[in-house]
Amino acid sequence: MKKLNLILAALLGLGLNYSNAQTQKGNVLIINATVLTVTKGNLENTDVLVQNGIIRQVGKNLSAPAGVETIDASGKYLMPGIIDAHSHVALDVVNEASSPITSEVRMKDVVNPFEIGIYRALAGGVTISHAMHGSANVVGGQNATLKHRWGVKDPSDIIMQDAPRTIKFALGENPTRVHGRGNGIQPKSRMGVEAVLRNGFNEALQYKKGWETYNAAKSQKGNTKTPPAYNERLQTLADILDGKIIIHCHSYRADEIYMLINVAKDFGITKLVFQHTNEGFKVAPEIAQYTMGASVFADWWAYKMEVYYSTAFNAAILQRNGAITSINSDSAELIRHLYHEAAKTQRYGGLTDEEALAMITINPAKQLGIDDKVGSIEVGKQADLVIFEGHPLSSYTIPQMTFVDGVKYFDIKADPDDQRQFVSATEMVEPIFLHAYENHQCLQDVDEYFEAFQGAFIEEKH
């Protein structure tokens, strides 16, 4: 396929570059599966036909068009590809921790398609991850929504180009520690965080007005107005105010969550998702009413002061209060078993199968603004699919095959040990360890940054 593209590109006299490179789309017929559509119920002994990367038919006794491979999934479960709304996998840089607002920074600039974490995520049925900037700054960088097309070499080929823009915000201890304590500037407190946000948005309004004035004047005869300085930091904040970007905000405490809801209301912002949201259960109705919901851990807390007031019922309480709720990983290890994390909402809160599965499929898709394309098994959606042996919410389940756009990128039966895409010519192979502990990456790159200040820094990084 890649070769074909090269030939086509050569024939058409086009350079093969970012804009015209096509990602691979697959054709496949999966038959006799128990199809967990998530949005349209469970369908026994059902077939799903994928053509050119899109789900074309869901039904019984479908026949494969010529040349389309048939996969027999008798006795197995087929569900939509799992979506992780909070990840830092496949990023060369996570934190540009040098300023309280860095909205001009783009994670899309530093995507690394060779990172082995992508393949591990696929082995856990995860087809889409939200590669986020870290939580060092009040307003961090713009995130990248990734499709796990393992094996591509061009970073733009693992970026989901049709996903809307999103941006990272962070409240509480991380930005106050990095900038306030670490660097002696605002924000030193939660009040300072709010001030940084309000000042930022107000500046963005002035910036936007300056450009509107200039653009209106510049084509007029005898214009003497000059262009304002370009500032992508403020432009990005203005884009948020214009509803072009979804905010994903790192948050723990109920008071700071409610603070941001108020800031959003004051500035007319509606596209807002809370991340971590540890005390979300205290403000669940408010989150349900004003925001695009919350993305939470199943049961992980107490790694610093602001994460002590916690409950494993958080996700269930948010869900039953009507908030769009997802379960995320924020970790290259947890990302491999998000189905298990989702199942914890049944143990703690008694959610239904459909509600639990929605937390790792259609709900994160809604929070990323891609629910019209992925997140459920429906005709017309992109064919991101996972076949499980055993029900995905069972403790005994094992992912078998993972498809992105109908292309199989993981098959447990064809899973060589060494999956690296890039091998160094000058380094001996080192043993590779999976970090099962202490690898939340929200504050990655911050330590290195702080060495330069000789600043005292604390161990937690979530």
């Binding site: 934190n95 540009e96 920074v105 192979v429």
Partner: protein, 564 residues
């Protein structure tokens, strides 16, 4: 440049290998002035440009310009003759991107009101107004090393942060001359962040690059409006905007340092976004981006270096698991592919040059030979050293080939340049002749040189550091015909004084000494491997003891050439 003049007199004294024919005289108290600036290299084999066969001819040049080349030249009386009968002459090599001779300027002091989230450009590494000429010295670090490797012209990049400044093309010539050929030839850029301030990471650097570029464009718009219309507020061009203008207006390229394919893609993505001219320098890993580089029309300067083979050499052959062996094979495969990259560029028809950034001058010819062994043609290798960089730098008019009217820049070797036994005997730069020592071949002609191998015979004292502590003993090496033999003493593992054991498999290759000896301990026999590098009378090395690991070992030769 003023500095170069001032330094020239003193620095000239330091240059070794510089031919000085002048005697001390009153009119030239330094004794540095040449008797003549006209030279003829007679009856040499001349390879005038890549791909052309060598022809026997005499080469005449004056004041740094080639004035004649042919079999029957009439030579002026003032021409100093150099017998070239056994010599091979090539066009002087051109280095597309280099840091030779560059000294990093001191960091400016931070202002009292310094805020790390919004530092002044100069402190954050954004200094496009700086020129490499101000940081360059012809007597500086590595200039002579690269000249010795055949390089006569080099585009030097300033040292600094993400946008350190403008490059300059230098002739690596006489220390008494002004050696700038062209200033402000390209804007140097890279992805390294500033330490402890914005922009600190590659992500921040890319964002800041956009900011600098866009605001330069706007500042130029503003200036144009101010020039054409009354009533416009005055433009405030910052030093950054003023210095960036040449890039935004397409007058000079951005030369991005990019080692990996991801960095290359990031630079090309920026190029596509803004449309500036782009040169990539220092590429180390580029197999997967060759098509992209070709289609985007990016000029390419690959790193003049091949990966070291340490990882391959250290692979054990026995007692490894199948899984480990499979991983070994992948490293081997990656290594083989890395060596072939340059030949793939040639096949794709990308006219590349070389960059010496982060490369070692002493290994340059070896790297070239390795690339040639792996499929690069000699013609393209020579083009990458001469005509290609000349064209990328825009200096083909006067450099890159040996032709009448071009600069007298030559590499003169004792044999066909890419042959293993070829040695560079002279390098002519700007008409100045630099001589280099040529080692004589040994009698058996095995490629080893007379003084190539270090002296190892004699009595050594050694000390090793193991987890059990420091211990040592005596090592005696003698030469027996062509073989080395000897003994070593070591602390008895059972704790009673010293034990003496014979050493075996002694081999010396250049500065590297290796040998083995056996130790019996508790009914077990272990082979100990010693590897070391010899400098003068000292050896610095390691001792590996079976599966127990490797430990540092140092030794000193007390009685050289002791005969037993």
């Amino acid at each position: 440049m003023k500095r170069q003049f001032l330094k020239a007199g003193f620095a000239g004294l330091l240059i070794s290998g510089f031919l000085s024919h002048a005697a001390w005289s009153q009119s030239d108290p330094t004794g540095k002035r040449r008797i003549t600036d006209t030279y003829a290299i007679t009856n040499a084999t001349i390879f005038a440009s890549p791909g052309q066969p060598g022809t026997k001819a005499t080469l005449l040049f004056r004041e740094g310009v080639i004035i004649g080349m042919g079999p029957n030249l009439s030579l002026p009386k003032e021409a100093q003759l150099i017998a070239g009968d056994s010599l091979f002459i090539y066009p002087g090599f051109i280095d597309g991107a280099s840091s030779a001779g560059i000294t990093k300027p001191k960091d400016p002091e931070r202002p009292k009101d310094f805020v790390s989230s919004n530092p002044p450009d100069e402190i954050a590494g954004i200094t496009p107004w700086r020129s490499a000429t101000d940081q360059f010295s012809i007597t500086g670090n590595q200039v002579d090393d690269w000249r010795k490797a055949g390089f006569t012209i080099s585009q030097v990049l300033p040292d600094g942060g993400m946008i350190p400044g403008k490059a300059a093309i230098m002739i690596l010539g006489n220390s008494g001359s002004v050696n700038v050929i062209q200033e402000n030839t390209a804007l140097a850029a890279n992805f390294s962040g500033a330490r402890g301030m914005y922009p600190a990471t590659a992500a921040g650097v890319i964002a800041k690059f956009r900011d600098v570029y866009q605001n330069t464009t706007l500042a130029l718009d503003h200036s144009r409006l101010f020039a054409s219309t009354a009533g416009v507020k005055r433009p405030e061009m910052t030093p950054t905007h003023t210095a960036m203008a040449a890039v935004v207006q397409g007058q000079i390229p951005v030369i991005f340092k990019a080692e990996t394919e991801l960095e290359a893609r990031r630079a090309i993505a920026l190029q596509k976004e803004f449309g500036f001219k782009l040169v990539l320098a220092g590429l180390d890993n580029y197999e997967n981006v060759i098509d992209l580089i070709k289609s985007s029309g990016t000029a390419m300067l690959i790193k003049l270096q091949v990966p070291d083979d340490k990882a391959i050499k250290n692979q054990k052959t026995d007692s490894v698991t199948t899984a480990t062996n499979a991983q070994y094979l992948r490293v081997k495969d990656a290594y083989d592919k890395a060596l072939k990259q340059a030949s793939l560029l040639e096949k794709a028809g990308v006219p590349f040059g070389f960059s010496t950034l982060d490369a070692k001058p002493g290994d340059a010819m070896k790297a070239l030979r390795t690339m040639i062994k792996n499929g690069l043609t000699e013609k393209t290798a020579l083009a990458a050293l001469t005509t290609n960089p000349a064209s990328i730098l825009g200096i083909s008019k006067f450099a890159g080939t040996i032709e009448k009217g071009k600069m007298a820049n030559f590499v003169i070797s004792t044999d066909s340049i890419f042959k293993e036994e070829a040695q560079i005997k002279h390098v002519v730069v700007d008409g100045y002749i630099f001589d280099y020592e040529v080692k004589k071949k040994s009698a058996n002609g095995n490629g080893k040189t007379e003084n190539g191998d270090a002296t190892i015979t004699g009595q050594w004292d050694y000390t090793s550091q193991t987890p059990a502590g420091s211990s040592g003993g005596e090592l005696i090496i003698a030469k027996n015909g062509v073989e080395y033999t000897g003994t070593i003493t070591y602390a008895d593992p059972s704790g009673n004084g010293k034990v003496t054991a014979p050493i075996k498999n002694v081999s010396v290759n250049g500065k590297k000494l290796t040998f083995q000896f056996d130790v019996s301990a508790g009914g077990m026999s272990l082979t100990v491997d010693i590897t070391g590098e010899i400098t003068g009378n000292a050896m610095d090395g390691t001792m590996s003891v079976g599966q127990f690991g490797s430990f540092p070992l140092t030794a000193k030769l007390n009685l050289p050439s002791l005969t037993l």
